[in-house]
Symmetry: C2
Subunit: 495 residues, 2 copies
């Protein structure tokens, strides 16, 4: 048995090295590679993906899993969970012809460069053909599982176990029911709070502040790095090498501040996985929903609170000199103005979920063949008008704004909404142990990190999202706290 387990650990090590290399190539592609390099790097990604595919679908690997499972009672919880997840993964990919698997990996690698250029040039047409291929591959890969109807539910379940279209339809309907009237209420008292926090800061100083904030919230910059990209993201090479990006807008420094805190939340999660899981396949977040609960927790519940900024102004070494001219109240209201805007990543908390709904409905519509990819700019703009009352004047600010689809992340967006909801459930649990306001005011963010680490981060994928939520909060997904939070917060600001 020991021999079998050693064999297993060896193969997992090999798989993890391939995955880390893929992560590094991905990182390079999005942060540094020149256009001339896209082709070769995409090919490399294709080659490595195929290698990873071949490894996990090989007879040897499958036999090994079977053998181990026969003696399940002799295995510890970690390896049991690894086998469970590997079986799920293998089930999904082994039905895909290897050549298609490779093609798709290459395609999504290439697509990011094409998306970036299309966004720069406001040229949806140059992106549409590859986007269509990506959607088609996603549909086809699900169909290979024998599923012909309701493909999207299956995709959603891949990101968040147990999720499907019906549940999300209900979930979003409930959010909409609560948020839309609240938004109307707020709009009656509409005021321009944000202009006070819009000032010019050099990129150099924005970088300094971003790093200061990361350290302040507890992200370890010896085991991670902050860089730049067209669209902020987090990527893990391993738990000692967690990489974040942000982007700097010269005349709106809070854009990078909140991107940085958001990605910092993801990064803290990844860095906090238990050392014992490092060389296992359980060494990252439980699900994308739980992951987003951490990033949105840091970005909004912490980063957009008055107490956090009180602490920063008192405790942090570097801060924008312009902040000293503002009252705490002005900063707080400035970073919490509600205003239907074009760009999701800069949306306030109240309109944010409406942005997600638009993407959710579009993904659903394309996969069910209700919409055609070529019609997306029109559909996007119609939905923007319907939900938010604003229409982008360019596709760059509209349908081309997000990187996700070009990476093949169809079905990812709902994770953000789930993350919002989870984050408030988690806050509610945390409050029983920690005086959050005081902790933030005193700048003791390490305490919050430690709590999250203890309850969530260290487990990595050892627990399911559901197990985590139940053990931490005593219940499963429950939008109640989130809706309550929004109501209270915004009635207070717009009283």
């Amino acid at each position: 048995m020991e021999e079998k387990i050693n064999k297993f650990r060896e193969m997992i090590k090999e798989k993890k090295i391939i995955d880390s290399m893929l992560a590094l190539l991905q990182w390079d592609l999005e942060t540094q590679a020149p256009k001339g390099g896209y082709k070769l790097i995409s090919e490399m990604i294709g080659e490595l993906s195929l290698k990873s595919y071949n490894l996990t679908t090989s007879k040897e690997f499958l036999e090994m899993l079977k053998e181990l499972k026969k003696n399940e009672e002799k295995l510890d919880d970690i390896i049991k969970r690894e086998i469970e997840l590997l079986e799920e993964e293998v089930e999904k990919i082994k039905v895909i012809p290897s050549e298609e698997y490779k093609m798709y990996s290459e395609l999504t690698a290439k697509a990011q460069g094409i998306w970036e250029i299309a966004r720069e040039n406001n040229d949806f047409e140059s992106f549409a053909p590859i986007l269509e291929q990506i959607f088609n591959f996603n549909r086809k890969f699900i169909e290979y599982r024998g599923i012909k109807e309701d493909v999207y539910s299956e995709i959603l379940n891949d990101y968040e176990k147990g999720m499907n279209v019906e549940k999300l339809d209900n979930f979003f309907a409930e959010l909409k029911k609560e948020i839309v009237p609240l938004l109307k209420e707020v709009n009656k008292n509409k005021r321009d709070f944000q202009k006070k926090v819009k000032f010019e800061v050099s990129e150099y100083n924005q970088k300094l502040f971003s790093k200061e904030i990361l350290e302040y919230i507890g992200f370890d910059l010896e085991r991670g790095v902050l860089s730049e990209s067209a669209h902020p993201f987090t990527l893990t090479v391993n738990k000692d090498d967690v990489r974040l990006t942000t982007r700097y807008l010269k005349d709106f420094p809070f854009s990078s501040v909140f991107s940085t805190i958001h990605e910092g939340g993801h990064g803290i999660y990844e860095q906090g996985v238990d050392e014992i899981l490092k060389d296992t396949i359980l060494s990252d977040g439980a699900s994308m929903g739980i992951h987003e609960s951490q990033s949105r927790f840091y970005e909004n519940i912490i980063g957009r609170s008055k107490e956090f900024w009180f602490g920063i102004l008192e405790k942090s070494k570097f801060k924008y000199s312009e902040l000293s001219k503002l009252t705490l109240e002005e900063i707080y209201k400035g970073i919490n103005e509600v205003s239907p805007s074009l760009i999701r990543v800069e949306a306030d908390e109240l309109t944010y979920s409406l942005h997600i709904m638009i993407r959710y409905e579009i993904e659903k519509g394309i996969l069910s063949r209700e919409y055609l990819v070529k019609d997306l700019p029109r559909v996007w703009n119609e939905k923007m008008y319907e939900y938010l009352g604003v229409v982008p004047s360019t596709d760059s600010e509209g349908v081309l704004q997000d990187v996700h689809w070009s990476c093949g992340l169809i079905g990812y967006f709902p994770s953000y909404a789930l993350g919002n909801v989870y984050s408030l459930q988690i806050l509610n649990a945390m409050k029983k142990d920690i005086n959050i306001e005081g902790t933030l005011e005193r700048g003791e963010l390490k305490r919050i990190k430690e709590w999250l680490r203890e309850k969530i981060h260290r487990y990595g994928k050892l627990k399911t999202p559901k197990e985590i939520m139940v053990s931490v909060t005593g219940e499963e997904l429950n939008p109640e706290y989130y809706i309550e939070y929004l109501k209270e917060k915004y009635k207070n600001i717009y009283n």
Copy 2:
């Protein structure tokens, strides 16, 4: 036969993908990876190096080379040259036990992180053990070839075919004989020209100007990228993805200007290799000496000329506003001040070769066991005092200043001196076709690039360094032009 050639091309493609991946990992390690990532990335480099080793020393590969060689008359020049170089390479590495080959690759990958930290902390002792291992591996790898005496000559020959200690001793003796009296002469008229070109420029503007200059000299930023690292370098993923780094000193913008031009010279060479060689192993520079001839040509002959700055001031879109306050003469003298300094990469052209000699003598001394690694700080400082009359106050500014040894580049430094000498021979030939002064004044640097491309760059490794020099200049290495150039240039400046 066609089948055999196809098989060959396939294996070369595989080898090149591994090499490109190694290049990307190297790049990541030096430009972005956090400390926590060094370990895993070094391991990956070790794994990939082993793969590359196994590929080129496999029976299959060796048989294939033999088979092809049997029918040499049916092969074209490109594949013939590839086989020749591959045989040379295989001869050298197949005598090394594979485990040692891998260990050494991992070691040099790790060493760069250790060097960087040691330099930061002025802590030679923490770097010494790994540096000693690197020297030992280099000696051992040569000894595996059956060579026990004069190991350094063999190493020099690896970098520049035909080179050995005797030739370089003579070469450096000649340089010394000419340069030292010239330096004395100049020192009699010592003046502080440089202070005029020392002014503060934000990193942001330095970046802008660096990119502007790269475009100006003809480096293609669509097929290349400029980033930052502790020590500037050039790295090629393939000819469409050529990566340069520089470093920015806040109060001395010309430091990054000349680093950038230097690396730009390397980069232009790599980008200019003929498309037909792209998928062959001939797709980079002929030798490191020829490579340095291009970088030093751009850095010094072009970049430190009066006419180049006249052209820049007239033609380039972005330039430092401080430059408009200076006369052309002030700029010219400011960037050509002769002053014995501590840092090689910032040395003037006259003292530069003395810096190289110090490294040459140290490498020779360690490989022949005359010096011990632990004594290097002392030896370094003694030689600095002897040759340049200055002594660094810290090891960071002394023996720890260069990245080369940590990368395993023992024997590389003489390439810089050879490059200087070659570059003047090349200039002499170029003058017969191009009015250099006028071309620079009119900002027509593309003409110079095209000439170099036509005569040198496009051949990649298809020609030997000697063949290149003979075909371009009609003779082999000849220091005459270089010495003449230095004499004329500096007598003029210090008249």
